[in-house]
Amino acid sequence: MRRIGVFICHCGSNIAATVDCAKVAEAARGFPGVVYSADYKYMCSEPGQEFIKAAIAQEDLNAIVVASCTPRMHELTFRKTLANGGLNPYLFEMANLREQCSWVHTDKEKATVKAIDLVKMAAAKANKNEELTSSTMPVHKKALVIGAGIAGMQAALDIADAGHQVVLVEREPTIGGKMPMLDKTFPTMDCSACISTPKMVEVAQHPNIELLAYAEVTEVKGFIGSFTVQIRQKAKYVDHDKCTGCGLCETKCPSKVPNEYDLGLGQRACIYKPFAQAVPNKPVIDPLHCRKLVDNKCGLCAKVCPTGAVNYQDAERLFTDTFGAIVMATGYDLYPWEEIYGEYGYGRFPDVITGLQFERMVNASGPTGGKLKRPSDGQEPKSVVFIKCVGSREPAKAKGYCSRACCMYTAKHAHQVLDKIPDAAVYVFYMDVRAAGKAYDEFYEATLKDGAVYLRGRVSKIYQEGSKLIVKGEDSLLGRPVQVTADLVVLATAMIPSQGSRELAQTVGFLPDLDGWYQEAHPKLRPVETPTAGVFLAGACQGPKDIPDTVAQAGAAAAKVCGLLSKSQLETNPMTARSNPAICSGCGLCVAVCPYKAIQLISLADRDRYGKRINRTVADVNHGLCQGCGACTVTCRSGAIDLQGFKNNQILEEVDALWR
């Protein structure tokens, strides 16, 4: 016989303001099996948990209901309380009086009635709950980091420095991501390449890091501690073991195309390294433009290569490896403003560029050697307009969120223009100046002192008049329309999740948020974890970030990975599905609905009702893969599959309790 204790939490005033907690506790005493009930201000606090433990001992309780917040928040907390109090943690049941009651209602009387019902259901289930025990599974002590920008490199280095093996996968021909594209970093104005390229070298030389550039993750199976991952190494057409990186092929290649690394401002050969300090510092061939690969003509690079490293027959290669943990570090892209900003010319005006193009231009190793030039005629711009929030904070047109880094890099750009072109006029159109980092606001103030003119308002139109750009906007502080004649316009375009990141999330097994950013497991308490155990987040793939925040988050993700890899085995979740072969007909409906591919059909030796030996097909659940979602249990026609902790009879008991 169950002796149930019911504990009603006020959650400060979160619940108590809308639900009469004492009344709920009182009502609970009348429910079947309930021998004790109480209410308390913060059940999850230490005194609250001690209170539960004391009640378990004093009242000889053998099942517990806590009515408080969502199980996502504190189910684990209270299971531990039960364990500390000497009970099996799965004899715990939670009723959600906060998210499902007090937060969504205003009428206290009616909310209290509903709260009583919710507790009644939880108590009914507590009557049927069973003791469950975990088993263990091994942890493969190797981490996979996807994306080798500053986030991925930092996470890989931190994990590797802790003594664990890391495979770092990067889809571009070089690691480094966007950071080496930048010229200087705010607010210290230190050279971006000088602090990022040594990290690239460190990654390449680290004994614990295996670097796979120009490769992509194509399939992920398994679960925390044991992910089986398929990786596709793209065809490089250059044997990097033979290649010395001398660069002769690049200089001789006759075909030139716009360089992605310079965002179309410069050109590259079709056998190329994205930039001079690329890692690996060896070229690949662009198969879409190489004349040999497209038309079977040319072949010059193979002729000039002194080591015979060029191999036009190279093909992509698939291989698999097993990892205990995965770090997502896929970064960001910039909003394709040309598609929606008709008022800025839909990309028709060559002298309207993005902030990242500006970075390439102002970068000493960029296409103009660090000289600011108008893309249209190569002239030095004397009047430069910056427009912030292009695509950000614009829910009607593009994205509602703030991209966080633009206020600062625009202040930096304004400063750089005034620094390089002393007689230049610089105008910044802004909505707000958000400079909430260490030494950030001081930097912005310094830019104002440099002479940048900040105009609070949006730009409504840009058009070309002769060689000049006319920028029309509003100065909302003066309440007047303004018009600026500019030589160059720089747009601070919104950050968006990097191309293909949504598909990659599906491959790895979790869902991004509505904007496509990778969703953390909890916005405050689990910021670097995903809801999928063993998969962690680093950098801008989780949301717009600047470099300091990205590096900090990458370190946090690495710490989590190290914590996981420091264990040799993990406890499994016992709340998984079990199939009863005696009543399973082997129809296979459960196999089709299982999102984790945890169920397979097996052959079972049996006897028919005449005693004749037969082989029956039945469903079999892999408890390592099963995540306990319950999709199979509702699909099963005969009720052969049941989910531990959410058995059919337990759930029906809750439903019954509601009308009893």
């Binding site: 008709g342 008022e343 028709r348 070309q464």
Partner: protein
């Protein structure tokens, strides 16, 4: 196709040639326009700056009459009338209370069920460019035209359902079909100043000047409009603009239906080309050998 036609006050007065050309084009294309009987002023800019309910009730009465006669679609040639009608329909659709109130004020039921279309959309979106092309006997080959939409046909976009509030193309495509060459320019949807020219001439005239200047800078031979007030501002005031800014603009301005009528083989005498302030004679002489004039 059959439409309820709401000419509005302008097409009875300053924009009379727009009305004539609209009807010629409709006749050619087999579009039946039935003028809403006993229509009243839409309230234009005056009503909505004085009384919100009045501003909704005035267009609602016209639309209710059209509904009572069983029309599912209403064609509105004037951009300001169009904006007022669309706003009224949207407001009534959004609020059942308002619908009751408005119906009470106008003394008849207005259900806001009919589709309200600018005359530009009737021709450019509902008629079919292939059908129009069949009637072109005098293509306006080589005529570089700046298609000018102004503000009220395109904004706010959730009310007007414009194809693109920053770079609309409906009129451009029509001009292409009749053989002309629509130019890509920057002032398609800038405000012409509307009635501001009267109370604040220095502001209003500047707006007109900027439009003319931008069209001229792209080598426009002419400007096409779809609004009687835009037409009036751009056509009638060029002389004043030239005096104020020391410019030499002489850009013929047309209602888009006038250009269509020309391409359909009508002569300038068939509609009101002579009523324009900036003469189009020499342009038409050059264009189509004077057949239009």
């Amino acid at each position: 196709m059959k439409y309820a036609y709401y000419p509005g006050c302008s097409l009875d007065a300053t924009g009379i040639e727009y009305d004539i050309a609209n009807k010629l084009v409709a006749r050619t294309l087999g579009i039946e326009l039935v003028e809403i009987p006993d229509w009243n002023c839409c309230g234009a800019t005056s009503a909505h700056t004085t009384n919100h309910l009045l501003a909704l009730a005035l267009p609602a009465r016209n639309l209710a009459i059209a509904e009572a006669h069983g029309f599912e679609q209403v064609a509105v040639p004037c951009a300001a009338c169009f904006a007022r009608c669309k706003k009224t329909a949207a407001a009534v659709q959004a609020s059942p209370d308002l619908q009751v109130q408005i119906s009470e004020v106008i003394g008849m039921t207005y259900a806001a069920k009919s589709e309200i279309l600018s005359y530009l959309d009737v021709i450019g979106k509902k008629t079919g460019l292939d059908h129009i092309k069949k009637h072109v006997v005098q293509p306006l080959t080589g005529l570089k035209i700046a298609a000018y939409y102004g503000c009220l046909l395109v904004r706010p976009v959730d009310i007007t359902q414009s194809d693109d509030p920053e770079n609309p193309m409906v009129m451009d495509r029509l001009l292409q079909v009749i053989g002309a060459e629509p130019i890509a320019w920057d002032y398609k949807t800038e405000c012409c100043g509307a009635s501001q020219v009267v109370p604040v001439p220095q502001l209003g005239k500047k707006l007109i000047h900027d439009i003319l200047k931008n069209a001229a800078s792209y080598g426009a031979d002419a400007i096409a409009t779809a609004c009687p007030l835009c037409m009036l501002n751009l056509d009638m005031r060029q002389k004043q603009i030239n005096a104020m800014f020391g410019t030499q603009f002489h850009i013929p301005v047309f209602h888009f239906t006038e250009l269509m009528a020309l391409s359909f083989g009508y002569s300038a005498q068939d509609f009101g080309l002579a009523k324009h302030f900036e003469s189009a004679e020499s342009l038409l002489e050059r264009m189509i050998g004077g057949k239009g004039a």
